[in-house]
Amino acid sequence: MTVFNRPWATPLLTQWALTRRRLGIWIRLSLLGFSTFVVLFPFIWVLAASLKPPMELNRPSLWGFTPTATNWVEVWLRSPFARYFLNSIVVGVLTVTVSLLVGAPAAYAFSRFRTGGTWLRFLILAAQMLPPALFIIPFFLMAYYTGLLDTVWALAMAHLTFIAPLVTWFLIGFFEDVPRDLEEQAMVDGCTRWQAFLHVVLPATRPGLGAAGLFAFIMSWNEMFYALMLAGGHSKTLPVAIAGYWTFRGVELGKMSVAILSAAIPVLVASFFVQRFLIRGLGGGAIKG
């Protein structure tokens, strides 16, 4: 009705609204661009550093150098870095597998049968609440006596002590989102409870399992304290290997940069593949509809 009351105002208003919208888009774009730059800057810096010849490293300029692959060749081909990389993958995969195998049924039990009440749910987090330094001596001795010291097994087990409970907690919410009707339907359809869990509940929580798996992998991949104490030699993992470029002669920035980038890329790639699940999972409502 405004159109009829104040016909003179309409074209002016429309034009102003249009300008305002364009302005809004530009402001938003530049804010986004700026934040992206802030987030990516360290990576860009590290990428530049990894391509710089050793002589250029301590110069402040970001771009004024002749790129070289020396650091990449040194790290990947002339040092055991590839093995450490593989160690990290093995430890990560072991941790993810076991924590999902244990965590999914545990979380299902917590969400469906209220196993142990709230008390037990908190108890499984107890190990999380104490400083890791408290556990390191027992872990070290156990690994020593079982002959597992400096193996990926010992490290994976240490990681499981805090990752499996977190995965369990993470998954409880996903199982609570699965309507009970679904598994009851499956049971009427001819499943035992266990089959209903395997055929219906687990597939329905795939987004949650994906997110929990990635989460577990990243935690294990980045963990340094236990890795340093339990697997410092032959079975060294990436965080320890990266720290190893901090030598008594100084920090080998070039090689360290290569190692850092090499460590960050798998996580980025994995996140990319799981992001669909992550968004759906963390956003909730994955099952309802």
């Binding site: 309507p179 679904l182 499956a186 009427v188 001819g190 499943c191 089959q195 055929h199 597939p203 509809g289």
Partner: protein, 366 residues
Amino acid sequence: MASVTFEHVTKKFENVIAVKDLTLHIPDGEFLVLVGPSGCGKTTTLRLLAGLEEVTHGRIYIGDRDVTDIPPKDRNVAMVFQSYALYPHMNVYDNIAFGLRMRKVPKLEIERRVLEAARMLEIEHILYRRPRELSGGQRQRVAVARAIVRDPAVFLFDEPLSNLDAKLRVQTRAELIKLHQRLGTTFVYVTHDQVEAMTMGTRIAVMKDGVLQQVDTPQNIYERPDNLFVAGFIGSPPMNFFEARLMPEGESLWVDTGAFRVPVPPDRVPIYRSYVGRRVIFGLRPEHIYDPDFSPPLNHPAEVQARVDVKELMGSEIHLHLVADRQTFVARVDPRTRASVGKTIRLLFDMDHMHLFDAETERAIR
């Protein structure tokens, strides 16, 4: 196909009794509707039959087989949940086939039966869609297809229509009735909607607070309710109740509510005579109250005066909310009625359809 028998079945949840000493026989091929207000134990009864809840006391039989301690998967029942409970990660075909796969039915046989069920429910064109891509009505059909494909002994329905819109609900109601006629299998159907109960059931079982109130054909439940609860629950708008006393006058008996006096038909006098002077509850359905101008010939009419409080036009009829000396009641009258709000009008009670209940036990006096 099989009959279902509950024998003194009780179900307790911690300290709540959900179902109390239920004894009920459902003959083979019957469409039994369990109806009652929420929390009356009807869904629990269905879940006990499905095996999703454990019986506290008593036994349940499907056919001659005692299934009390048998897990759901071996009871040969199929269930349609209120939420339809379609498996979200499977397409429609796999949803329907799931039960057969779990029972290791050969692949070709599965395909034949899935297609047959899909044809019966007219969902062939959506077989390869996921549940999230379906409308409410389509999901409902898939849930029913998933039930019939298994060819179970008993079908269980837990309020399957309550998530549908009104129009679709009426249509699906008719389809389920047809489905029952076609399959001839025992149906046990839970609803809180008395219209569904009346229209669908071969027999209706009315429950309240875990106790079975009455089991009978819709006609009998409507015409001869056993107690005050059943009388008030079945029928819309519900039956009118008046606290009253029975007064003798020579050979005849009168129902005296304080607001009005109406005579008991002579054939019922001997039945009610022992209640003379005692407190009773007089019941009459809104459809048995007439505007004298549009009344059919009645054998035992009784005239009552009341003031019109509210007038609701329903299209084919008018609901009059009436007041007679603080007693309020509802009449369903002819839409041509000249009654208007605020006016006192004459009404005819069809006393042949009167109900009388003992005020203490709330049981029908017969």
